[in-house]
Symmetry: D2
Subunit: 344 residues, 4 copies
């Protein structure tokens, strides 16, 4: 099946190229980049030299539709919506990696992201977190691949909200992200010399992934959920480790909490619930689509710590999008995605 | 004034050597190391070549007392107590950097650390967090320099507990530490190839700094406080950034919270309360004794996020110990300690 | 085809597991580790959880031979030779990744590595650098996969020696290696806190890869070659970038030098000769079997700088071994190995 | 003595601020930055909060001359020359850290750097490598602080050239630099995600420090010297480790080579000649003005490897400039500069 990667020169876009190249059912038909249009992919990105024969092109939906059945769109929010709309109108199946189609409420979207650029298509996408929306993804033509922080937070959190085992408010999430999450942006704060040996929180209480987490948490809880979200940068390129810090309703032991997770993800090929005492770690998921999970309960204090690790560029973005496509097309969920992490 | 550094070949010990060398009132008279006894300091540690004329020796309290008025003891808990006792008996002023004299309750100490090895001296030390115990440190002869995580957690937290502005339970602390906090230990998990690009939580809910934080938080609150503490390793050598996640009692704005901090630390030379929106970061404190602080309130959710950054080897250990000594001897609190961080 | 990985718990061994798992013709039948015998692979190495069903076992050649047609041996030198001998006697095809079978002269081997532990088999292996010994590898039953530094040095160097374009002495090689090259050894010098932000040369003029480079360089030159080899550690896990610094015989331009390389590797699927001015870099080869090459000539000074980049664990070890196997069995040389690097 | 730091917001400029703050004879009177003029220093650079009361200002020589006796100029080449000229005309002692006054030949300067912007002052500066030009620096009013790579290369090399012990051509220099050497520039190639885990050579044979090295090497040799210079970036912020690869004239043992170095630097407070077998390393010099040196001879091959380590921002820039000032003013050469490195 021929696919186009739209916005292929950012870190997520490059990761999509990597994963499309290794997927047995996919063939890369087009890769777009405004800035690099006309340049051969393998010349602009030396890692891909010899692996991709295409040149970057501009993102023209009709032109892409002539060559590709499926498109992954990895553009910034607002830039993505009109391209997605154009691709859908031209009959292309789309997995969008921006925030433009992740929300249920247009009001919430516009409060956090500004005016929506393709309101006709708002609300038509399935939320692309396959472990939660696997059934809805089957046969869908538009998926809004879940954000990186929401993926790391919701996978451990949702089972407890669904079962009513924890208080819906307050929920604290403290997440530590590798720098690639900020994208390939020319900002002084993203220079090597400003980040090596450094770590700092940013956008505390103001990060745009907060309403996305709250939306899906509320769906799971059946009532509003209040999240205080604290993201950090840590000095590595890939990965997110998250702590979700909650209060239990009634007693909950670590063993019971681990069972809740094990039950929820018994059939999920990419969720690994770790044995008691083993902590999720970035190296164990690097380059892979896994989400490693554990839980530590403190019965005396009535608190529960949920922990997760993902590769933000794979399970937090490109891998998740491919996983969505696998389900949308009715293929094996893990097709082309099951590989050993590049641990060291 | 002549000083001995006991346990001088670990990372904290080496940092003590560095700070003693730059302190205008201190002269290094002895440095001990069991493993390296007999070896010149500058040969065992190439960074110190040409700066220290001494050879490492064994830690014999009476012998040290003949040459030093003051000793910094940077030994593991349990190993420290008998040496401290010996030094005190010989009349030496001691700043102990282990956990052996930080607790008010022997029961709590022994629950977390095992049998105390010098119970006669238990309870005789001033808790060495100068911003909270400045008055008590003046003239003291034994100080128990506060732990690294407790320093990073208590400095932002205590003012709010003292003023009764936040709920005493649950308090969540999510702290990210550089690897030097684990010491120079031969463990596979501390190898470069196991930690570069990696991050993971450890000892969740079981870390020995939990009761130390709870003890001092309870003193501040005037009631028991319940802390859920989640420490992480991040891939850098130095520094701790901490989130303290609490619920407010009544409304509290970010501005009001920053004023609480500013008021509490108006006279503290090493606490820098940052302007609203600026986040504490490791680079801004590296190699220095500063603790940078800020607060972000979420009025709607009734939550408050307190954030801090310290260099774990300086404000979290060696620098704090020197700051304690400055106060114990009635010198300027910042003497020999006020230097520009090695930001990049 | 069923394969055994012997010595599977070091960094090279784990990389072999990763590559065997992704190779369409290979099935992992056994993985050995003295230290971890009896432990499930996915429990000992969390990255592999869910991907490998086997437990580690001890390395008993006869037992392995019952389950595997092919073995990759990733043991330290001297430990490897008897196991290789046992496996060969039992009819197993072996690709050995130690130094035990790389030499033509037993005298040279024993000068640098000590007594050989399986002299009967000495001299029976094909030197496993497929770009130089492709023809010899076809049908071979024992290959001695080339060392990491020799791979990075010989691939750029050999074409110039073969064509007599450079002086055979002195040849300077300055190579910078990621820390995984030192293995998973418990040494203080390999701790994260000793290597982050650090770099240093080691074993200058004494590194055991020197005679291996000189051997193959001499074969290419048809005369003795004298190499001064300076290896460095740099603060990253994977990869080797090498400078080979030589004097030309007669004039040589950069363009001419690049043509020499292009001609030599026209049919080599993993050697990428970069366009003039583009430098080999670690990110462009990370996790892949590529060797990127370039050359910069200084006509005025009569010098030539050859530069290469490889992933030491892939093209410098596990990937090269699989490439050898592909050739030994007459499969496509790049089978199971052609993947996009994990650039960021 | 009141000093101005001109160009104080780059990495070298910030390091100058750090060193001026700790120097007992210096008082910071002005700090300039075009981009940040008007902003308080401690607000623009959080590390300096509370340590500097000044605001950045524009670089107006006459205005600076009214407040400062001495100026350190840390501007890019070409931008520096007119400011230096203005400061000198106004009677200010200047230590310039750009390349503008390092050359003896205007022709060579202009070949590599373009038209000189203050030719009247060309040739008036003492080359600021205090170990070589200590006598000339005493009483001087203009010094051209030596470049970072030239410092790391010339200190090990010059003694051997002076004594005629090595061939003057070819000399190969392979130097590995931390990223701060590239400055605080907004280039994609300097982003954290492009450099962590990465290493690559750049400007091979074309780096502007080549003629500076050749100039001073030729002075030492008394004849022209031909240098092939290969600089690399390695993934750390600070420091340069260099290999200088040469051929000996006649036999030279490691011991003899180390004696040459020891003799040359017997009175140099910042040069540490290491014992045989110990290698210069970045951690041992980080944050300090030391240059660690060693030599390894290969008698059989007639080659000599010289190795050095410096902190590029200290001995390679700001510390060297302060060392020059100390000598220019007749103070103790090491005043304000002798501190223990921040090894970990």
């Amino acid at each position: 099946m021929k696919v186009a990667v739209v916005g292929a020169s950012g870190y997520v876009g490059l990761e999509l190229l990597r994963l499309v190249l290794r997927h047995p059912r996919l063939e890369l038909a087009a890769a777009t980049s405004e800035q690099r249009a006309g340049r051969p992919v393998g010349e602009a990105f030396p890692a891909l030299r010899g692996l991709v024969d295409l040149a970057f092109e501009e993102a023209v939906p009709e032109a892409l539709a002539r060559r590709a059945e499926v498109a992954f769109t990895a553009l910034p929010h607002a830039a993505s919506a009109p391209i997605v709309a154009g691709l859908r109108k031209a009959g292309v199946t789309v997995i969008d990696l921006s925030a433009d189609f992740r929300f249920r409420s247009l009001e919430v979207y516009e409060e956090w992201y500004g005016a929506h650029k393709a309101p006709d298509f708002f609300g038509q996408a399935v939320y692309g977190l396959p472990e939660l929306y696997g059934a809805e993804l089957r046969g869908a033509e538009l998926a809004a691949s879940a954000g990186c922080y929401p993926t790391g937070a919701l996978l451990p959190l949702v089972p407890f909200l669904r079962e009513g085992l924890i208080e819906p408010s307050p929920i604290f999430i403290d997440a530590k992200s590798g720098v690639s999450g900020a994208g390939r942006k020319l900002e002084v704060g993203l220079l090597f010399s400003e980040l090596d040996g450094n770590s700092l929180a940013y956008k505390v209480g103001q990060h745009r992934h907060t309403p996305e987490i709250e939306q899906e948490a509320a769906v799971a809880a059946g009532e509003p959920v209040s999240v205080t979200f604290v993201p950090y940068l840590i000095p590595t390129i890939r990965g997110i480790v998250s702590s979700v810090l909650v209060q239990t309703r009634g007693g909950l032991t670590t063993e019971a909490a681990l069972e809740v997770l094990a039950r929820a993800y018994a059939d999920a090929p990419f969720v690994r619930v770790l044995p008691a005492g083993e902590m999720p770690r970035l190296q164990a998921v690097r380059g892979s689509n896994f989400c490693d999970l554990t839980a530590v309960a403190d019965e005396r204090r009535g608190t529960l710590v949920l922990l997760s690790a993902i590769d933000n560029l794979v399970k937090g973005a490109a891998g998740q999008a491919v996983q969505c496509l696998n389900l949308m097309r009715g293929w094996e969920e893990s097709e082309g995605l099951l590989e050993a992490p590049l641990a060291v």
